[in-house]
Amino acid sequence: MAKFGSALFNRLVIIIPYAWLLFFFLIPFFIVIRISLSETAVAMPPYLPVFDLASGIGGFIDNIKQFSIANYIWLTEDALYAKAYGSSVWIAAVSTFLTLLIAYPVAYGMAQAPNTIRPTLLMLVILPFWTSFLIRVYAWIAILKPEGLFNQLLLTLGVIDQPLIILNTNWAIYIGIVYSYLPFMVLPIYSSLEKMDHSLTEAAQDLGCTPIMAFWRVTFPLSMPGVVAGCMLVFIPAVGEFVIPDLLGGSETLMIGKTLWNEFNANRDWPVSAAVATILLLILVVPIMFFQHAQAKADSEGR
């Protein structure tokens, strides 16, 4: 009985979350791909052919015959989409780099901090992550506006005599992404620096390295797993970011998340938005696999 119960318990623990994720996470992707091959129609749901389980296998084959790649051809013909993909990847890459530049010294400082205050510092980094993304992005509008707090400060200090136009430019998007994703970069770098054996840098310095050389030759390479994980955690979601370009970016800023949203909500063109999502997924599949590989490796090392 215990044996049977044990087997059943083990099975259920795997099967329930597995089945749930298959149904609500994986299968939907196939539906997206399938609908991207449909035609737009003025109906509800607004695409053809629709799913019809009643028509059986014959109906299913008929369905496949009606598939078309018209939506993908449409995406290549309109330069807007190529530009949106390109600028999304570019903006995400620049922001990831800027996030790394800011996050690394913070993570390094935390790893060097006395043991007694480290948990508090860690808590302070995690805390903003619990606050709404939307709220944190919204907070920047009042700061970056031409008559906003940042410009008021600079004008008062006499650094500038004309307000800087930051809101609704790419700079506002960079700031928004760096700000929102900073904890995602700090945490993995901190955890790889914290594990580091300090005698290594001491040894390097004893052997004649300057502190800066010791950093570049010993510390930085050893923190690479954290740097890579952090960059992936920032880059991948940033490519498809919607809220930040929508609230902080300008009307001419093209980012694919915003394009997809507009295609879906304003133009009500489901098949085209499904095609946009499919290509976005294809662009991100390599970084996502890379991220998972790194995670799986970290897990097996932590075991």
Partner: protein, 271 residues
């Protein structure tokens, strides 16, 4: 403390100032007398009073809380199961796919997750509304719970579980009486994380909800698009306050449990 140099302290202080200043400013300007969010005109709580008369906002808040409570609870159960599956059973068919499905939602752009779930609900003919919203929230938050609980399980001493089993406890009894009490703080913080993620989500909610199920972030977003007002600052301040309280309680609970655990251990060794 020669290692903690002035440069280290400066970078931490600047980094934290960057993280916290915008939120602090937002909170300060929610108490502004003037309608302008950038010019201080004196202290006032009138925007908070005004909130109480904004029925649409209160309705949205109620929907958000209900979705959050249900989805966080279910996600915690599923996420804990997934964490057990990931740490205990290193080999089963499709494990690669399983761990892929746990990690992918953590980085997947929300527009893709939202769109794909919406298309699923349409394909199976499920009317969009409160329940589709809840199902979507369970799905993306359970992965965060799984990661939080998993990291606790990795440092778990399995010999006490084996001892319980040897003494005749069933797997379910072992889990409930031995494993769960030890990982409870992680499970609890997983729940709090799931709840706040659900509370905050805008993009996935916008795709998967239907008429009559507008959440607070959706309401805030549609107002933000019309401009920045102290009233939104006030809503945001309340949300931040709720989340800060939750995190504070979670950390106090886990710390007192930790102290209790250490005491128990010392008592056990003293005998």
């Amino acid at each position: 403390m020669q290692r903690w140099s002035r440069f280290n302290i400066a970078s931490i202080v600047l980094g934290f100032a960057f993280l916290y200043l915008p939120i602090v400013l937002l909170v300060i300007f929610s108490f502004n007398e003037s309608k302008l969010v950038t010019v201080w005109a004196g202290f006032s709580t009138k925007w908070y009073v005004q909130l109480l008369h904004n029925q649409a906002l209160l309705d949205a808040a109620w929907v958000t809380v209900r979705v959050g409570l249900i989805s966080a609870t279910v996600a915690t159960v599923f996420g804990t199961m997934a964490a057990l599956a990931m740490t205990r059973y290193t080999r089963f068919r499709g494990r690669m796919l399983f761990s892929g499905m746990i990690y992918a939602p953590l980085v997947m752009p929300e527009v893709i997750t939202g769109l794909s779930m919406l298309l699923l609900f349409v394909a199976i003919g499920f009317d969009r509304g409160f329940w589709t919203l809840t199902l979507a929230h369970i799905t993306f938050t359970m992965c965060f719970v799984a990661v939080v609980v998993q990291s606790r399980l990795l440092s778990f001493d399995r010999s006490i579980e084996e001892a319980a089993m040897d003494l005749g406890a069933t797997p379910v009894a072992t889990f409930l009486q031995v494993t769960l009490p030890v990982i409870a703080p992680a499970v609890f913080s997983g729940w709090v994380l799931a709840f706040t993620l659900s509370l905050d989500d805008l993009v996935i909610s916008s795709f998967t909800s239907g008429p009559g199920a507008t959440t607070l972030p959706m309401r805030i977003y549609s107002q933000v698009r019309l401009g920045v007002t102290p009233e939104i600052n006030a809503v945001c301040t309340i949300l931040i306050g709720v989340v800060a309280m939750g995190v504070l309680i979670a950390s106090v609970v886990s710390r007192s449990r930790e102290i209790q655990r250490v005491k128990d251990e010392q008592a056990a060794f003293a005998h």
